[in-house]
């Protein structure tokens, strides 16, 4: 038959075409290796679908550790800077393709999870509004605290989100690139969800402003978020080492400041003011925080950079130096934020000094176990908390 296919004929279904094709196919497969990327070292016992689809997608030359390709880049930046280069980070690795997201998320599982969270958010809001839960929110809490300060926190998340653009461009591995883009995406999602809460409130409580104007003024000019804003601006735009961006944003700043603001302030105090809505949104961000912690722990701890067979000691030194740089800025951010308690009534067990101190202790204790200890970082918790508490007027 003619090899010129007739319009619309498909080789699988057109009988004449299919016959020619079937005739050409060998009776048995020509190779027995049916595992794609069989040469990738699996993290678990078997190569996961995530590893098959992700590892070595990046065409890295072998002078970037872990790469399978050879030679130079075929086009460089003006002046000759390489497409990707070891000099973009102070940290060293024996294999930049080694990182694994413990949740094994490639694109499909990642968007599937988020799509479920979106559908559930929609159904939750419908039910919440239908039964009128909004009536129980204390109006002072809603109109002052949520409006201004949860509103201003949107900018915190948005700034941190933007700290992921350059690392998404510059990082040296494929699993790293996926992970960094995803944890960045979660941050803009957080910002959008808090704005969604504002829009929702404005529908249920006519008069509540959905506009971002007042919160933005609070973020850019107010005193409560001054330290936070300065830290976020520097994480976003004054940090050029992509590992330092991720370390400063997630391991130091968000693990302390973010955790305090979300979990110890909004989540805890909201319930006291009859606010059952904010905890719903905060708990989404806490889910993302925990998934991000899985990723960043794998990048830096576990089998990651701090424990690299060849460069572990050196990397730990750098990571401690970066912590020295970012911890004081984070402390300042916390100290400024504590000014918010002056706007609230003193409620025993919730907003009194003892409770705030306990909350700070919880955050720093978690931080010590989850992060600081992993690079043998020593810090004087009591002294830091004392400094932070000076922000409570």
């Amino acid at each position: 038959m003619s090899i010129q296919i007739q319009q619309g004929k498909r080789g699988l279904t057109d009988p004449d075409t299919a016959r020619v094709i079937l005739d050409a196919i060998p009776a048995e497969a020509l190779d027995s290796q049916r595992k794609m990327n069989y040469f990738v070292k699996p993290r678990g016992r078997r190569l996961s679908e995530y590893e098959v689809l992700t590892v070595y997608a990046q065409p890295t030359p072998d002078w970037i550790p872990g790469g399978l390709d050879w030679g130079d880049w075929t086009q460089k930046f003006h002046g000759g800077r390489p497409s990707w280069g070891n000099e973009t980070t102070e940290l060293h690795s024996t294999d930049w393709h080694k990182h694994r997201d413990p949740a094994k998320r490639w694109h499909a599982p990642y968007v599937k999870d988020k799509a479920e969270e979106w559908r559930y958010t929609d159904r939750f809001l419908l039910a919440y509004s239908e039964e009128g839960q909004v009536r129980s929110i204390d109006p002072f809490w809603r109109d002052e605290i949520l409006n201004l300060y949860l509103g201003a926190y949107i900018f915190n998340e948005y700034g941190l989100f933007n700290a992921h653009s350059a690392p998404s461009r510059d990082t040296l591995g494929d699993t790293l690139r996926f992970s960094i883009a995803m944890i960045g995406f979660d941050k803009v999602d957080n910002a959008q969800m808090f704005q969604m809460e504002r829009v929702f409130l404005s529908k249920l409580a006519p008069g509540f402003p959905e506009s971002t104007d007042a919160p933005k003024a609070e973020w850019t000019k107010g005193s409560i978020f001054k330290g936070a804003r300065e830290a976020v601006q520097d994480i976003w735009q004054a940090t050029y080492d992509w590992n330092e961006s991720i370390w400063s944003a997630h391991i130091v700043y968000d693990a302390l400041f973010g955790q305090f603001v979300r979990r110890e302030f909004f989540l805890r105090v909201a319930s006291h003011f009859g606010d059952t809505l904010t905890p719903f949104f905060i708990n989404q961000t806490q889910l993302y925080f925990s998934q991000t912690k899985g990723i960043t722990s794998d990048i830096f701890f576990e089998e990651g950079l701090a424990n690299d067979a060849e460069f572990g000691d050196y990397n730990r030194r750098i990571l401690r130096a970066w912590t020295d740089k970012w911890l004081p800025r984070t402390t300042r951010a916390l100290q400024d934020f504590l000014g918010i308690y002056a706007k609230l009534p003193v409620i025993a067990g919730v907003t009194d000094k003892v409770s705030v101190e306990q909350a700070l202790n919880r955050v720093f204790d978690d931080w010590k176990i989850d992060f600081a200890d992993k690079v043998s970082y020593k810090f004087d918790k009591a002294a830091i908390i004392k400094t932070v508490l000076q922000g409570m007027k």
Binding site: A29, L68, M182
Partner: protein
Amino acid sequence: MSISAATKAATDALAANRAPVSVNAQEVHRWLQSFTWDFEKNRTKYPTKYKMANETKEQFKLIAKEYARMESVKDERQFGSLQDVLTRVDAGNRVHPKWNETMKVVSNFLEVGEYNAIAATGMLWDSASAPEQKNGYLAQVLDEIRHTNQCGYVNYYFTKHGQDPAGHNDARRTRTIGPLWKGMKRVFSDGFISGDAVECSINLQLVGEACFTNPLIVAVTEWAAANGDEITPTVFLSIETDELRHMANGYQTVVSIANDEAASKYLNTDLNNAFWTQQKYFTPVLGMAFEYGSHFKVEPWVKTWNRWVYEDWGGIWIGRLGKYGVESPRSLRDAKKDAYWAHHDLFLIAYALWPTGFFRLTLPTAQEAEWFEANYPGWYDHYGKIYDEWRARGCEDPASGFLPLQWFMENNHQIYIDRVSQVPFCPTLSKGASTLRVHEWNGKKHSFSDEWGERQWLTEPERYECQNIWEQYEGRELSEVIAELHGVRSDGKTLIAQPHTNKDGKLWTLDDLKRIDCVFKDPLKAL
């Protein structure tokens, strides 16, 4: 605390109407543009000579969660088809062998483009200042992660279900051996990520996506279907649904810089360079993949090219940007000439170098020779005769001891590599426009095949220093290089690459190659 007016209003509203209320994505998105703020250091880490406007909007207006919902709906359909009915009807195996081989290259090379597009759009997300414009690029970052995984999935699927898993199962390692790879990196890897951010956007979105995704992603599905492959259309058409967003991003990039003075100075030059760069590789490589990598033919490549590249893109798409001062690239006419013979020229070289592939190649059959001659008059006298000679000398048979590469050497046909595009060419055999130009710089000789690329190199030689395969393999014996770079099958001796797809034909081994004792020589050294 007194009940505020708002709470009373909420209570009253509820008394009158208990309808459930939610918030849709657009109601959130319309605030996005206000999410940024001014501060002293707020500037990009990837400088560009253009200035992107602060108020640039995007067209797709997605928020993160809505993006995820839309993509996961598409995923359900696509993976549902692949894992259910297509597996039951053995569709992964019932593909013409020539096409099974073609997809080893097409899917893996496209994966490289998708992968680098993640980094490229990460850079653009950094470069743009308007939150909406950032958001458009951000959605593309995620899309390109999706496409990377999808392309990988095609190779993964053929590895699991296909007739020849070798090459599909290790393309990420073996692709680096042969002559097509470095050129691929130029257009789909470094060209997207290394340079002025807007220049990269022009490469990726305005040319790569707006111009070449139609022939690449859409035409490939037609050739696939004709040759029995329903896996590729299932995946690639799903990829294509995201590409509209990317073309819109490219459009918005131009809109965002349109009022900048730099645009009137540089935009058309950058566009011309980007177009030439992309076409220099894709025009021959896609044409070759379709026409020489299939049994059933859809239409001559030159027709596809004229419709999509010349008329649709060069005419309509660029025409739409005319109001922003964008002109059709000056190199378009030279490219149109390339679209006729360049892929035939390249296949001659690709076949001669068949042992360095991660796929099996096939000489045109008598039936195909007829089809080529009918569609490209003059084909037989130039190419067909050579293939007949190679076949007569037993180039398909491992016992023959004959490699077509030897024929090139015997007849003093040197194969050079264009430094800028990394595309190989043979000046004495080209029916297309390629001619040899040589320059010396930094103690090294550099060859070029056309004026447009040569010009790019003369302006900025430090951007194109990459060594080519001749320089890399110089003095080394062929089978040794292939063994070192893992070009063998799971039995440890049979080559992944083969010079035929005949099911009864013998397969070449490393030993068959070794006996021939073919040693790499860099033709530039002889000059």
